[in-house]
Symmetry: C2
Subunit: 350 residues, 2 copies
């Protein structure tokens, strides 16, 4: 009698690395199809090169979107390579959205480097974003195989969701912190599901589409991805306030200082804790906060329960993602890898 | 014996109006699918409403792109309505490109009104452009019928060409007026064929695609459209220098004053006329021109033959458009209307 096979369960970093290695050559090839100027900006934004074009080794994004696309295809019974074109499209859209969002939000640094518009100028960064957007659509539209048209439809729906989410996020800025017009946690959730969740949902859904999965499976995968997006955004907000700037690469308390509506603050203000009232007073002047006041605001948000409410929200979204995949006919090994990635969405430090 | 039927040949304005009437309801419906904020900016940019949302009647763009889409479908043997979805996509892309280009070029007025970024801010205008881009792709991707996937591929190719053209136009700004590094007329032609021609070519090609025309017919229509685009851009440059600002809606000599590389100036500088040398000296300081110097530059460009060379170029491009359609099996009535539109591309005053 032979012993049962030893199962080597891959860790989240191993899973992400395997997927990055599969996608990287195709993504590099796609970027090379851009105008050389735009290829340079894309490579800089992807962390592949410095602003003066020297290659960078090692530093790369986490790659959760591309991983989700590949694992979803495997879960739907196809080899990961079938979804590489979808992963490439999603990564291109991700870079497009970073380029444009950094301009809209006035962000000057990302991952401890200057943002593209700071290095290359606003006009060139807008156009490079447009070029990446166009290339993403073209990559899917020109993909061989019978699923290309469905994949493009899937991406097109995502893109309209994504801009709606970003529009709401921008509109939040002009709304008050308190009172009947204030932004409520459920509105934030809607915004995050569109702004961040749409693309993660697209990644997972595209994996299913390119694997030829039935619509119900595609929907389930996409729904799981959207939940993960809300979790991801909530944790992003947490790290923006209580994360280590040396690790996150974001300036300390930058969201707080410029009065951005983030989940921890909204959740704190939604309580009737005394600290919430003090926090509302601090924020209500409408003036950007100085360093000391921002730190005080962070403490008050924590005291009013904003930090724990955000973590609870993130965990609930993970649970939503798990539930979305419950009972869906998926290959166990790949499903296991998707589930192994989930805690990473909440436990990450950058 | 009955007399031969009297043929009522429609004039260019009549043809454009008929096509606008066919497209307008579908375009309005598409715009209503945007986030309300983006719908407002789109309606403003389309000339349908004022900045405070009041409807405007009468004032509309010329609509050459939508007309080309519809007439091309008719020429390929289908009813115009089959191409309405293509015309809508092309118009959405046109507005997207206006929104983004006006930011990149720093243009503050268009058609005698403030540009979208001046009224709504840079960030919102970037995002509204992205939303229009996404909606254009979605409109074609979701179109019923068997030609949707081909239409999306056609649009995706156009979009990558369009951003390449705009990239070259931006790069021209940092190149010198004279010497081996200077921008040559043939480079301008390439830029205009991509920046402006790609979308007119897309309109004509989409008409063919949505009519189910064979690839050779689609290619011929698209090629004709690209020629028209170069003619259109060259005449745009002419009007920017010698047009009536009251009619064009553009500030007088604005391209000259901020040293934009336009065909008339490049063509003038490419001659060895003494006026060309004086023009090069005026422009060569690299400083924006004041009103008087700009007028002097316009006179010198005319003296060196830049104005007539541009008109000749435009006429040659019209000839190229006609040649592209020669011998292509097209319905005579619709082809007649396309040909009736051609002079309009050169003779227009706005």
């Amino acid at each position: 009698m032979t012993p049962p096979p030893v199962t080597h369960r891959a860790t989240a970093p191993q899973i992400l690395a395997r997927c990055r290695d599969l996608v990287r050559p195709a993504l590099a090839e796609a970027v090379q199809r851009l105008h050389p100027w735009h290829a340079e900006m894309a490579a800089f934004s992807l962390g592949w090169s410095t602003a003066d074009g020297r290659p960078v080794t090692g530093a790369q994004g986490k790659g959760v979107r591309q991983a989700l696309a590949l694992l979803s295809a495997e879960a739907a019974g196809a080899p990961a390579k079938d979804a590489v074109v979808g992963a490439v499209a999603v990564e291109l859209i991700h870079v497009f959205s970073l380029l444009h969002d950094d301009i809209m939000d006035g962000d000057e640094t990302r991952r401890q480097r200057a943002t593209v518009w700071k290095v290359y100028g606003t006009g060139p960064a807008i156009l490079a974003g447009d070029a990446l957007f166009a290339l993403a659509v073209r990559t899917l539209a020109d993909a061989p195989g019978v699923h290309s048209a469905t994949a493009v439809r899937h991406l097109a729906g995502t893109l309209t969701d994504l801009v709606r989410g970003q529009a709401e996020d921008l509109r939040f800025e002009s709304r008050p912190w308190t009172g009947p017009e204030s932004v409520q946690p459920h509105e934030y959730r809607w915004m995050a599901e569109h702004k961040t969740g749409a693309l993660l949902g697209c990644a997972a859904g595209l994996g299913g589409v390119l694997a030829g999965a039935p619509a119900t499976t595609v929907d389930a995968l996409a729904r799981a991805g959207r939940h993960l997006g809300v979790a991801f955004q909530a944790v992003d907000d947490l790290l923006g306030i209580w994360g280590d700037p040396q690790v996150t690469g974001k300036p300390v308390h930058s969201d707080l200082r410029r009065l951005k509506k983030t989940y921890p603050v909204l959740a704190a203000l939604a309580t009737d804790h005394p600290a919430a009232r003090r926090l509302a007073t601090l924020l209500g002047t409408g003036n950007p906060l100085d360093r000391t006041t921002a730190r005080r605001a962070a403490d008050l948000a924590e005291e009013a329960g904003g930090r724990s409410a955000t973590l609870a929200e993130a965990h609930q979204q993970l649970e939503g993602a798990r539930r979305s995949l419950d009972g869906v006919p998926l290959a166990p090994a790949a499903l296991g890898e998707i589930l192994a990635l989930l805690p990473f969405f909440v436990d990450r430090t950058m």
